[in-house]
């Protein structure tokens, strides 16, 4: 119980005094995860839209694979990315291992299936609604995709935020490919793992509460957007 209290007071103190290291670590967490989110969304959302409107032979297989990839253990993704980016690996020349870029790459791989799956479901439902009308209006494939993406934008944002939640709390993959280097690749989750390993529970808890606070804030934002969806029925 004292640990918990220590943690809370530590967290409060860190936040209120805008502890330099906490700020640096938090900003890096956000930098890595937001970059990963933007890149992953740019890949996943159009992919989901194309899967929703295009008929092609392997469509069902692709969707099944996408859903299965959601269950990919993040730490395994980290291991594979590590092997690929290591100097003795195929992409070693880029020297990306143990950099924030490597962490972004790993997180993108982890959250693209998640965002694509959720988005695809919403887009598919919307397409079923719009199908007769748009076909009757002779829309091109591009116009189909653009219309769906725009009209489903709130659901797509929810999908993206789900990806954000998955990424910001991830620790296994980014620990492996980032190396948890102080002032370089240390983020909230890896810092928590580190401090716990040093027996510094109060500090670890403090960081943990900051991370929880961040995640709750994002979730509230998601809910708020979702509410607007049911009210105005956009």
């Amino acid at each position: 119980m004292t640990d918990l209290w220590d943690g809370l007071s530590r967290a409060f103190w860190l936040v209120v005094t805008l502890d330099a290291e906490l700020v640096e670590i938090t900003l890096r967490s956000l930098q890595v995860t937001i970059s990963a989110l933007v890149i992953a969304s740019l890949i996943a959302l159009p992919l989901a839209a194309v899967l929703a409107v295009r008929r092609f032979r392997l469509r069902r297989a692709v969707i099944a694979v996408l859903n299965a990839l959601m269950g990919l253990p993040p730490v395994v993704v980290g291991l594979i990315v590590y092997i690929l980016l290591s100097r003795s690996g195929p992409f070693g020349v880029f020297g990306l291992l143990f950099t924030p870029t490597a962490m972004i790459i790993a997180q993108v791989i982890i959250i693209v299936p998640l965002i694509a799956s959720i988005a695809h479901q919403s887009l598919r439902d919307l397409w079923t609604e719009y199908h007769d009308l748009l076909i009757s209006m002779n829309v091109t494939q591009t116009q189909k995709v653009k219309t769906l993406l725009w009209d489903a934008r709130r659901a797509l944002l929810t999908a993206s935020l789900a990806g954000f939640g998955r990424a910001i709390g991830e620790v296994g993959a980014i620990m492996i490919v980032g190396g948890n280097i102080d002032h370089a690749t240390r983020v909230l989750t890896t810092a928590i793992a580190l401090e716990t390993g040093k027996g510094e529970f109060a500090l670890a808890l403090g960081l943990g509460f900051v991370l929880i606070g961040l995640t709750i804030a994002i979730n509230i934002a998601t809910h708020w957007l979702g509410q607007t969806e049911t009210e105005g029925r956009w």
Partner: protein
């Protein structure tokens, strides 16, 4: 000037899972007036309209326009029995077809506003279209179908789910539109509506056209027994 008509249909058939829904149908439609496709429920009215419009596949036969099929598609619109609303505002819904044709948002919205006022939706321009009543949505659908100034409008039982007042508003707009020269092909099972609007009647039963003719002839001197039974008010399958 693209001429869609005469529209010639020969031996057209539509099947689903092997079962014949409509056909074989032979038909020729001229360039003016309002054609009402009438018949009991389940006679294949929706399928016939989709065949003509091109959204349903022909399993046999031909549908030939006076111009190319592509040109024809670009100059027609379709109003569904149950209106499909885009998840946007009223004005953005109406403006949508103009956006597809490359108009910029400002011009499109301006024209859509005019049409919205014309169909009586002028005071709900920014409301989400999905919260409108059935009648309001159908009026929106009609405005949306007409904003691109099509030469031909299909309407598939547009007033089936509407109350009398909404129906009257829609019919008023249709009359104006017809006066402006737009060709209308409308399906209904409502005899009263048919009498009010038709210049020409196609009587459909069991997927086949049993009778085709000018409105006065059809209503006063129906030729076939099925048509007679239908007009008398018997249940016709």
């Amino acid at each position: 000037m693209t001429q869609l008509f005469p529209l010639k249909v020969t031996g057209a058939e539509s099947r689903r899972r092997g079962k014949l829904l409509v056909g074989p149908v032979d038909l020729e439609l001229g360039p003016t007036g309002t054609t009402i496709v009438i018949g009991p429920n389940g006679s294949g009215k929706t399928t016939l309209l989709s065949l003509l419009h091109g959204t349903s596949r022909l399993n046999a036969g031909q549908v030939t326009w006076a111009c190319s099929t592509e040109d024809a598609r670009r100059h027609q619109s379709f109003v569904f029995q149950r209106p499909v609303m885009l998840r946007r505002s009223v004005v953005d819904n109406i403006a949508y077809p103009l956006g597809l044709r490359g108009h910029d948002t400002k011009t499109a919205r301006a024209q859509a506003t005019e049409w919205a006022i014309r169909v009586g939706l002028g005071d709900m321009l920014t409301r989400p279209a999905t919260v409108l009543s059935g009648g309001e949505q159908q009026k929106l659908a009609l405005a949306r179908a007409l904003i691109s100034e099509p030469k031909l409008v299909f309407l598939d039982e547009p007033c089936a789910a509407l109350d009398g007042r909404a129906m009257r508003e829609i019919e008023t707009i249709l009359t104006e539109v017809k006066a402006a020269g737009t060709r209308i092909i409308l399906s209904t099972h409502d005899l009263g509506q048919a009498r009010r609007l038709a210049d020409e009647v196609l009587f459909l039963k069991g997927g086949l056209i049993h009778e085709q003719g000018l409105a006065p002839t059809f209503f006063d001197q129906p030729q076939t027994s099925e048509a007679q039974a239908f007009l008398k008010g018997d249940i016709v399958e």
